[in-house]
């Protein structure tokens, strides 16, 4: 059974491209959300195995959503992503409920699979 993924990012072009890349690599992208509020709602409804989460969602903070997703029974694995430099968030990622970080331009099925293993 393929791993289900929810993509939460405020840039539609990235969501579309990430969906294509992950689908090509055998993941099942079950949903997309553009902001923190709908991201949380969709995650609770669809219960994906994994949430690919942008660090900065417009004005909201991706890490806050990661914490919110980590509360409850079935917690999805959260993988942070960003177009900005990893070094900017290193400490935050370590302290957060997320299981890892993938720079946006390096997103691929194998990179995601590596973190979920």
């Amino acid at each position: 059974m393929p791993i289900t993924v929810l993509i939460v990012d405020d840039h539609p072009s990235f969501r579309a491209m990430a969906r294509a890349v992950l689908a090509d690599d055998g993941f099942c992208v079950v949903g997309e959300a553009a902001d923190a509020e709908s991201g949380l709602a969709v995650a609770r409804e669809l219960r994906p195995d994994c949430v690919l989460l942008d660090v900065q969602l417009g004005d909201a903070d991706g890490f806050a959503l990661a914490e919110a997703l980590a509360v409850g029974g079935e917690r999805p694995a959260v993988v942070m992503t960003s177009g900005r430099d990893r070094g900017d968030f290193e400490a935050l990622i370590g302290a957060s409920a997320a299981c890892g970080f993938i720079p946006k331009e390096r997103l691929s099925g194998s990179a995601l699979g590596e973190l979920l293993r």
Partner: protein, 591 residues
């Protein structure tokens, strides 16, 4: 008796007025003396009549002095009026009907005028609604109520009075008369107490100079009020006791105007203070704030504040250079100080000082040079303060701009490059199994790359227009005009290139002005003209839009102003509502 004593314009008229008042008062007094001597005045009131004459003369004399000092306030006129009312009041001692009736009507009037005088001390005007109510009430009680009472007063009931006819008499109604009289007395007592309370409150709240000025009038005024109360209470007892109290009250009254004058003279502080000030200013170390302290000591007003005038910005600043508004706080007066006809400062001071404009002007003359020095110092500080603010704004504007650039890069070109990287990766994986899909993906990637390049170019131009450096202001403004959403008429007359920083400043003035035209002006055309002379570069951007732009409101125009001022130039925004906007910048070619 006349209240119509308007400020007299010429010295001749002033002298004539003084002479007329003095002669009339002298004649009245002489008449009184003759009447007393000739036995026209009834025996039992002879002492009272004599004291009253003295009090009347005291009032008229003091009134004339006060009026000569300050013809613009009512104090002198009121005193003169009180004097004549006292004369008229003693006509009640007369044996014939008309003077007797006039005397009866006017006899209580001086008490109201004295109340009015005390409450309006020292400026000659009443200070509050309560004071106005008390004074109006007093006039009503001593005049209107008095007349109504006299209408029902049959003098046959008054013991030991072989009185002449009361011309106001309508019918004898002892009950009504008593009622009115009791009411009059009661109201009189209430008003006297209210006046006393107001005076005590003023004393409590008064500053040093005002207390010094208030003291004499307070002593005589309260004595008068106490005796007036005693007189009102003693009215039912024997005629002899009443006459004694009345005489004492008249003596106190006679002292009131003199005390009033003493108070006024104490409020002015004497020329000694000015000479002390001159000496102190000579010794004064050039430290800010000393002048205020010296003035405060010379004028004996610890509450005194100085605000310096900055003609350039048309505002007042404190000695620290910060803008202040010298509004008169509660119980303070503001006087503008001038030197050689130029406004230099505003003095916020105790109102008692305003009683003596001559002193204030002597002090400001004595302190003139020091004031001018401190004013220049304050102006310099104000300029430094403005500079500091504008420098902070320039740094802040730089930060804001960097944030905007980072945001634009992140949301624009960077996102496109991310998509490009992912797209290329996807294409790579499809090359062998699905070459057609790979080609489509590569085409999309090329399109994405073109967009990213275009966005980067746009952004780079925003950071600094390369055409400006490479091809000069004329060409850069042409490209700016071509990109503007409204029609731009360009008129650039340059025979040489200004220094790069000035070129850039001029370019940003036009760029920001045209951006504003596009955003707010609802204009159809804009004209841009740039000229150069030996000293300066002149830039003008005008539009035919709605106007009403405020240079101090928007950060854009404010930032331009900072930028232009940083080069020692000036920026003006003329934007009357409905008549378009004109932005004029002048930039010096060498700093």
């Amino acid at each position: 008796m006349s209240f119509a004593i308007a400020p007299v314009a010429t010295p001749q008229r002033a002298r004539a007025f003084t002479a007329a008042v003095s002669l009339t008062a002298a004649a009245a007094a002489a008449g009184g003396v003759v009447a007393i001597a000739a036995g026209v005045v009834r025996n039992d009131t002879r002492t009272l009549a004599a004291v009253t004459l003295v009090a009347a003369l005291s009032f008229v004399g003091s009134g004339l002095v006060a009026w000569r000092r300050r013809p613009d306030v009512w104090t002198g006129a009121l005193m003169i009026a009180a004097g004549f009312a006292l004369f008229a009041g003693s006509l009640a001692n007369s044996n014939s009907a008309l003077p007797f009736t006039i005397g009866l009507v006017l006899a209580p009037l001086p008490s109201a005028i004295i109340g009015h005088l005390i409450l309006s001390f020292p400026e000659g005007r009443l200070h509050s609604t309560l004071e106005r109510l008390v004074v109006a009430g007093a006039y009503f009680v001593v005049f209107v109520v008095q007349i109504v009472m006299l209408m029902f007063m049959g003098f046959e009931h008054v013991t030991g009075c072989p009185c002449p006819t009361n011309l106001l008499f309508i019918r004898d109604d002892m009950a009504l008369h008593s009622l009115i009289m009791s009411t009059q007395r009661f109201l009189g007592i209430v008003l006297a107490i209210a006046a006393a309370w107001i005076v005590v409150r003023r004393w409590q709240n008064a500053s040093g100079p005002l207390r010094r000025a208030l003291a004499p009038i307070l002593v005589t005024g309260s004595a008068t009020i106490v005796l007036l109360l005693a007189e009102l209470i003693a009215a039912n007892s024997s005629t002899r006791a009443w006459a004694a109290v009345s005489s004492a009250e008249r003596v106190a009254i006679a002292l009131v105007p003199i005390a009033y004058l003493v108070g006024l003279f104490r409020a002015r502080l004497g020329r000694v203070a000015v000479s002390d000030l001159v000496i102190e200013l000579g010794r004064m170390p050039a430290e800010p704030g000393h002048l205020r302290d010296a003035l405060s000591r010379a004028l004996r007003d610890p509450s005194l504040e100085l605000a310096y005038w900055v003609p350039e910005s048309e505002t007042y600043v404190g000695i620290d250079g910060r803008t202040v508004e010298p509004a008169a706080a509660a119980g303070q007066t503001v006087t503008v100080l001038e030197r050689h006809g130029q406004r230099i400062a505003a003095l916020v001071h105790d109102p008692a000082l305003g009683e003596d404009p001559a002193l204030l002007s002597a002090v400001s003359t004595a302190a003139g040079l020091a004031l001018e020095n401190e004013r220049l110092l304050a102006e310099l500080r104000a300029q430094l303060e403005r500079l500091r603010e504008s420098r902070a704004r320039i740094v802040e504007a730089g930060d804001t701009e960097r944030r905007r650039l980072e945001r634009n890069l992140h949301d624009g070109a960077q996102q496109r490059l991310v998509s490009l990287a992912l797209g290329l990766g996807l294409a790579e994986s499809k090359v062998e199994q699905e070459p057609a899909t790979a080609v489509t993906l590569l085409q999309a990637a090329r399109e994405e790359l073109a967009q990213a390049l275009s966005e980067l170019r746009e952004l780079a131009r925003g950071i600094h227009p390369a055409v400006l450096t490479e091809r000069g202001l004329t060409y850069a403004l042409t490209t700016l005009a071509e990109r503007a959403p409204v029609e731009v008429v360009l008129d650039v007359q340059l025979d040489r290139r200004p220094p790069p920083a000035i070129e850039a400043a001029a370019y940003y003035v036009v760029a920001e002005a045209l951006a504003n035209v596009a955003k707010y002006a609802q204009a159809t055309t804009a004209t841009v003209s740039v000229t150069i002379d030996r000293e300066r570069l002149h830039v003008e951007v005008a539009d035919d839009g709605v106007g009403g732009a405020d240079a101090s409101a928007g950060s854009g125009l404010r930032g331009l102003d900072d930028r232009v001022q940083a080069f020692g130039g000036s920026l003006r925004v003329i934007s009357p509502p409905g008549q378009g906007t004109q932005i004029l910048a002048e930039l010096p070619l060498r700093s």
